[in-house]
Amino acid sequence: MSALLAAHDLVAGFPDRPRVLDTVNLAIGRGTRLALLGANGSGKTTLLSCLAGSLKPTGGAVERDGAPIDWGRKGLREHRRHVQMVLQDPDDQLFSADVSQDVSFGPMNLGLEPDEVHARVREALTLLGADHLAERATHQLSYGERKRVATAGAVAMRPDVLMLDEPTAGLDPLGVHQMRDALDRLTDAGTTIVMATHDVALALDWADEVAIVCDATVHQGAPEALLSDADLVARSHLDTPWPLALAAALGLSARPRNLDEAVAALAPALGEFAATHDAAASVPGSDDTTNTDEETR
């Protein structure tokens, strides 16, 4: 069974400099949520660009559905129908002052009929929770809104794989929730998502798999396994996400991925403690437990 999108022995970089990526292997299965982690300048964006067909690697191959992609104009056009990338700064991608015109660029480029283009624009804006922005001027939007519009521009291509560079960077907590909700809707609609991020707690909670770029190579695996590897985490200039760090510090065998799982892992012990000590009976702030549903960063 072959991966939807894969890198085989990928090499990328500039002549006369240390290679940015050196024999990188990565396989992304259909419907996966993959978080790509790594330090600033480690090569995350380079890897995404290669996978998106925007940067030709100096060695190795990018494969889609088991076949290496063709780097000619036609091959790339075909590749971009399936694989779309959203950059970190929305101002690097939005060229039209009118939101719905901007989102329509991709579908128009595919040569679709105006009705079909219109339907796709609406669909993409709805998936991103940005219907109400359709009539607005790009320059009047907030940073978070512009991020969602830029993402809608990629979604309107109905890609199989959507790759996002730091989709939550610079957003306030509400903006992060909205972006995550939008990504969940895309996953439900069958899109495979690759997200490059610095937020290890987000990666642990959101991803099915993580890939860590470190020393020009990539380590791929289950989030709780890779992010518990203290040595890898340190070498990659990352941090252990708090749920794993907490569990480790408390000597728990559980590897919670988020607040709920941390609570579930700790509650039995505390329940017993409370029963014997009767301490938690009248705790101030215990009405705050509604917060459990909220995301914690």
């Binding site: 925007s54 719905s100 001027a137 320059h139 990629a154």
Partner: protein, 264 residues
């Protein structure tokens, strides 16, 4: 706060209740008034055009009077300066001069000229504001496509418009950052004039480099989006408004007939 300055008319245009009307109708209305301001007998033609334009902008298109006033302040200064310089003739005073001193004089010809300059200028500018306050630049550019203006030219114009706001933010930030470190207010002779010059050059240079960087990043971003040869987008559907067309025709006809009757 340069960003704010660019914003006022543009914000009004984007928020205008006329936003979704056909661009051609708005252009016809505005340009009809402009031509009337220029061609109809000055009195009362220009006055009527000014009144009609204000009524359309503030009344029908519901633009806040303050926005219009702020937009008009710069052209009014220019018109006053121009009118003053026309008001005084230089050289030998004409025989019909009402007042003269040394080589300056004011007479019926120069007064009429000054009044004409001011009246035409004010009414003409107000007539252009009918378009400026109701139609965002992108809409105009998209509309120009039907006149077979080559796509690359329109694309450059609309990219210019988009980048204007991105770079306005950069400009505001660079200037604010310099102010924080006393870039506009250094210690030194004549309020640090020579350093201020160097700082301004550094600011302009930094903005230029940032602009260059921005444009190459947008180029790359567009390549990611599959840009090859053209930036074609879906035109926005527009609503025909028979009422605006009728109003335009009626108003213009009324102004012309009143002006012609009165001028006779």
């Amino acid at each position: 706060m340069s960003g704010l300055h660019i914003g006022a008319l543009d914000d009004a245009a984007w928020g205008s209740p006329w936003r979704r009307r056909r661009v051609g109708e708005k252009v016809a209305c505005s340009m009809g008034l402009v031509l009337t301001a220029l061609l109809a007998p000055t009195w009362p033609g220009t006055l009527l055009v000014a009144v009609a334009a204000i009524a359309l902008i503030v009344g029908a298109a519901r633009i806040r009077p303050r926005v219009l006033l702020a937009a008009m302040s710069a052209p009014i200064v220019f018109l006053i300066l121009g009118a003053i310089s026309v008001l005084f003739s230089v050289g030998t005073a004409p025989a019909d001069a009402w007042w003269h001193a040394a080589f300056l004089s004011v007479g019926p010809t120069s007064v009429a000229q000054a009044a004409r300059l001011f009246a035409h200028g004010l009414s003409g500018t107000l007539a252009v504001m009918v378009l400026a306050t109701t139609t965002p630049m992108v809409d105009l550019l998209t509309w120009l496509r039907r006149f077979r203006v080559p796509d690359p030219l329109l694309e450059i114009a609309s990219l210019t418009y988009r980048l204007l706001f991105v770079l306005a933010e950069t400009t505001a930030n660079v200037l604010a950052a310099q102010r924080c470190r006393l870039g506009d207010n250094p210690v030194g002779r004549w309020n640090g004039l020579s350093r201020r010059w160097h700082n301004t050059a550094a600011a302009v240079g930094a903005i230029g480099l940032r602009a260059w960087d921005r444009s190459s990043r947008l180029t790359e971003g567009l390549a990611h989006r599959g840009f090859e040869t053209s930036l074609v987008t879906l035109p926005v559907p527009r609503v025909a408004s028979p009422r605006l067309i009728t109003a335009t025709v009626v108003v213009l006809a009324a102004i012309w007939s009143i002006s012609l009757v009165v001028a006779r």
